[in-house]
């Protein structure tokens, strides 16, 4: 899609009567400045978030408390504010969720692009689109009453566990992954598809040996974006993982994610000394999401269409 560049727009400027297009307060200039101002203020929002996080986390670095935060013990009563268990918890939780969701996403895309029967394809896509509209808190709520009691029964413990959170989280990030792979697969060159069909490949063969290898960028992008969505989610981890500040030894163990940690510390008000550590958590999350963004740009895959999922 070509868009008129500045040059073609400027051509139109000269044609109008002077009253409308010249002078400091003519309508054209005012509109342009207002629109630019709106965009600038949105950009300043990002800068403000980063600025605030850095400003409040700075005392840690300046006061030499960095080693205190990067330790394995979270016991605010004893003055220990280590966030490493939460970092480990976040990584374990999100990686396992991706591990569960990614093959499922591949299977669904395989169904939509070849393995499925014609009349079933559209309802499946509609279902995936619909999933993006389900509130995160509803997934969490249902899991608390369906999944948690089962896990308690089968694996012991309280049921609020790594497994419960990770299964629910995988459901949450599934549409993001499916829609990204789907978009990439749709962009297969029609000549390639014709050539494949002319060679007598079945739709499944064409998908497996021609189109999927071609779409490798999109497959990576879906993996990375799905993971970052999982990492950014707060509610599922908060409602289902049990929130014990420890490194889990088994899937039925409780864990605490970085995002949930921030929410819990703010909610329980354990004292202002703990606040610096949650801003450190915030900075870590910010840095990861920036790194993910840069990686996706490097991959030049279509970055997340505005499909929801992080609550």
């Amino acid at each position: 899609m070509t868009v008129p560049d500045d040059h073609s727009l400027n051509l139109a400027w000269r044609r109008r009567s002077p009253r409308q297009v010249e002078g400091p307060f003519c309508r054209e200039k005012v509109v342009r400045v207002m629109l630019a101002g709106a965009m600038l203020s949105a950009a300043l929002g990002v800068a403000a978030i980063l600025g605030f996080l850095a400003y409040f986390a700075w005392p840690l670095v300046a006061g030499g408390h960095l080693s205190q935060v990067f330790s394995w013990h979270w016991q605010p009563v004893r003055g220990q504010f280590g966030i490493l268990p939460m970092l480990a918890g976040s990584l374990l939780l999100t990686l396992s969720a991706v591990l569960a969701a990614y093959p499922l996403a591949m299977g669904l895309c395989g169904f939509v692009h070849g393995a499925g029967r014609g009349p079933w394809v559209r309802p499946v896509l509609a279902l995936i689109h619909f999933m993006t509209g389900i509130p995160t808190v509803v997934y969490g709520f249902v899991s608390v009453f369906v999944l948690v009691p089962r896990i308690r029964q089968w694996l012991g413990g309280t049921g609020y566990s790594w497994l419960a959170a990770s299964l629910t989280l995988s459901l949450l990030i599934l549409p993001t992954m499916v829609l990204l792979i789907h978009t990439q697969l749709r962009q297969t060159d029609s000549r390639v598809r014709l050539a494949a069909a002319a060679l007598g490949l079945t739709p499944v063969q064409e998908l497996l040996w021609v189109r999927l290898p071609q779409a490798s960028q999109g497959l990576w992008a879906a993996l990375i974006l799905g993971w970052s969505r999982a990492l950014g989610d707060t509610l599922i981890a908060l409602m289902l993982s049990g929130n014990a500040p420890q490194v889990p030894q088994a899937v039925a163990d409780s864990l605490r994610a970085l995002t949930a940690h921030i929410a819990l510390v703010v909610a329980t008000d354990v004292g202002s000394a703990a606040y610096h550590s949650i801003f450190a958590c915030g900075l870590i999350l910010f840095a990861i999401s920036a790194a993910v963004n840069l990686t996706l740009r490097r991959l030049q895959a279509p970055v997340a269409a505005p499909h929801h999922t992080h609550g």
């Binding site: 899609m1 500045d6 109008r16 949105a42 709520f141 950014g232 703010v266 970055v303 609550g311």
Partner: protein
């Protein structure tokens, strides 16, 4: 060997679809079965007379009416902030921005879109901490702060959908008005914006749905379980998603649990309706202008 792999893949694809269908069907049936019986005026107003509760003359203690009002106010306030900024920003990016601006702003918008929502909440919380230390020792979290942080959350969606909708129009439409001598603003207001209206509107509705369902942001910026109706911009407030979250963990009786299921059903119905509306708009927009927009 290859043939077996292909057959295996087909089987796997079918089981993925059937599995997901079963899980979602189970989720829906469970929610409807448990939530439907509690739908009614008692869910919203509890034991308070409906008319009195509706007008706010009597407080509602055991119903979700205050949470509905809280969510409504949050969404309206956040929309008032975010929609003008987001749509204007998207228009600027699509029509006016230079290539360099487009790259820099595009990166920042992507960054904001990918940011964990709890960071917007943390930002609001930090703002209050700073205000307490400096100008306003009495500053506290509340409705306006939460709405401001929510508007940051939905801003990138609005910018992206506006930009995509404008760029999705045929290039002839961009050029014809200009070649006939319209100024850029005339071209925009008379030709491009009306043509892209449905696309932009779908983004607005999705943003509203997103603001209504988010919990992480308001968790840090002033939502509480029992605030009643808010009386000022800086009051604490209740909200539907938080009520669901709270009741899942803290229900003390079967009646409260039923209220949780009812609330979940209400919120799901609300977001599903918004979602279907936005989806319908997007489809008609795509059919009219560009068949390559990402829809089935």
């Amino acid at each position: 060997m290859a043939e077996r792999l292909e057959r295996l893949f087909t089987g796997f694809a079918w089981s993925a679809v059937l599995g997901l269908g079963a899980v979602l069907a189970g989720l829906m049936i469970f929610l409807v079965q448990r939530g439907l019986p509690s739908l009614g005026t008692a869910l919203f107003f509890g034991s308070t007379p409906v008319a009195e509760g509706l007008m706010g003359r009597l407080p509602v203690w055991d119903g979700i009416w205050p949470a509905c009002v809280g969510t409504f106010l949050l969404v309206v306030l956040a929309s008032l902030i975010a929609i003008p900024l987001g749509v204007a920003g998207g228009v600027y990016l699509a029509v006016y921005a230079s290539r360099r601006e487009r790259r820099v702003y595009g990166f920042l918008v992507d960054l904001l879109a990918g940011m964990p929502s709890i960071l917007m909440g943390l930002f609001g919380f930090a703002l209050i901490l700073l205000l307490r230390k400096t100008l306003l020792p009495s500053a506290n979290t509340g409705l306006l702060l939460a709405a401001g942080c929510l508007s940051l959350l939905v801003l990138p969606y609005l910018i992206m959908t506006t930009q995509t909708a404008l760029l999705g129009l045929p290039s002839a439409l961009h050029l014809t008005g200009l070649s006939l001598g319209l100024t850029p603003w005339q071209n925009l207001s008379r030709v491009l914006l009306p043509a892209a209206g449905r696309g932009i509107m779908s983004g607005v509705i999705l943003a509203v749905g997103r603001a209504a369902e988010d919990t992480a942001v308001i968790l840090l910026t002033g939502v509480v379980a029992n605030a009643g109706l808010p009386h000022s911009w800086t009051d604490r407030f209740e909200a539907l998603p938080f009520t669901i979250y709270y009741l899942a963990a803290e229900h003390r009786s079967a009646a409260e649990l039923d209220r949780g299921f009812g609330t979940a059903l209400v919120l799901l119905g609300l977001t599903a309706l918004l979602f279907l509306w936005a989806y319908g708009l997007q489809r008609t927009f795509a059919r009219r202008w560009d068949r390559r927009v990402n829809l089935p």
